[in-house]
Amino acid sequence: MFDVIIIGGGPAGLAAAKKCYDEGLEKILIVERDTQLGGILNQCIHTGFGLGVFKEELSGPEFAHKYIEMLRDTRVEVMLDTMVLEINRDKEVTVINGNGYQKLQAKAIILAMGCRERSRGAIATPGSRGAGVYTAGAAQRYINIDGYMVGKRVVILGSGDIGLIMARRMTLEGAEVLACVEINPYSGGLPRNIVQCLNDFNIPLYLSHTITKIEGENRVERVTIAKVDEHFQPIEGTEIVFDCDTVLLSIGLIPENELSKVAGIELDKRTKGPIVYENMETSVEGIFACGNVVHVHDLADNVAMEAEKAAVGVCEYLKGRKSEGSVDVTTYEMIGYTVPQHIHLPLDKNKYDFFFRVRKIFGPSVIYVIDSEENVLARFNRQYIIPGTMEKITVPKVLLEKGKGNLKVLIEEK
């Protein structure tokens, strides 16, 4: 019997395991499907990790390395090359590996499966179906792990961070990146990545554009892009044609929740991840979740911090913490979602963090937290908020205690 089984050995799983161990849990197991820990960090060879957790700028493998080193001499058990096939409400975890197919029993579970990339089908990009179209992450693996180049002349569809990072990476390796094409009027990536991955190399970013055609029988030979109207429909006459052999897709990430669904965990349609409480507990008692399986983060550091929250939640759960109901956290239109979506009562933390993303670019604005009677409990000024960056507000308990009923988070431009 394990105190906790952590599903996934990427940044969320590693940070959760470390924290569970620090908090004194005895029997901790990480189940990882790859042959090594670290998850997607291993192929993210660029820097930009660690400022939040380790106060220094690290590459992905270095960030993973720190955690792996910290876990090395602990009692945390790791099952590599092992896939979880099913979990259930009784905290049974069915795993499979080269030794066989078995059921493991845990007192609590932490879901840390991360996310997957949206593929071409999700946006139904028309054209031929030869080689040369890759998700940015798949290309990243071929290049950084396997050591092979996927193309010479590249158009990137979508301006998510992985796509931006790959624009720079492929340019440094001698490829010509002709364009980064984004259907929204704003980039989906972090501003710093626009600067250091596109601007540094004079790669043009086409906002409000999309690919309308991919041509080439066996391999991509040409793509056509066009400007889109406010309904994202291509505008005739605005086409630009690029001769290229490669298209990278960086069109978003989707939390990987097949296991959660089978276990009957309630998901949020907006985040596509489990609905969670402030301690990262899901709708099923004793099953917690953290990282990109809950909502897509821009930074592994935020993932790690969320994982620690889940770990603390597990420890409290195992000590028998009981809640007496909860309040809901809802949003207005321009705030896409919040995590957490519920808060346990009674309020027993000194402060409560809320994470969210906005649906458009905001200049100087105020974020309000109001209660069911529209009383303002807290307000936060922001100079500039963009959809590409996850926003966080921290509300002290003393302010929340004043509220009645459910909470709502909203934003107003000044």
């Binding site: 291993n42 493998p61 993973a64 390395h65 710093r192 960056t389």
Partner: protein, 115 residues
């Protein structure tokens, strides 16, 4: 006055750098921004991350980085040097795999244990 977006951290502050006034930086939230704004106009630098060929082990590609940022204008030249470099497994995270790249005084280090 030059406008910049700080790349020092994910926050991406909008900086104003006043060349006429000793490169005074405004719009920053911390010291990293002040330093970045100034450097970016005088001597822009970037951390180089790439891979180099690994031999004699199970893996063939080793992730590496410059231990500190190097001048931006040297990025491609540094790539050219590293593209021809090969190291032998096993390698430890932090091992220097190429010392003093292009006479910058900055080492290229492995960012992962690989055997």
């Amino acid at each position: 006055m030059t406008e910049l977006i700080c790349i020092g951290c994910p926050r991406g502050c909008h900086l104003h750098v006043d060349e006429e006034n000793d490169y005074k930086v405004t719009g920053n939230s911390c010291n990293i921004g002040a330093e970045y704004g100034r450097n970016e106009l005088i001597n822009p630098t970037r951390t180089l991350t790439t891979t180099i060929r690994l031999s004699g082990g199970n893996h063939h590609s080793l992730p590496v980085r410059s231990a500190h940022p190097i001048p931006k204008k040297l990025l491609f030249e540094a790539m050219e040097v590293l593209n021809h470099r090969e190291v032998k497994a096993p390698v430890k995270c932090g091992d220097v795999v190429y010392a003093d790249i292009l006479n910058t005084g900055i080492d290229i280090v492995a960012t992962r244990d690989l055997d």
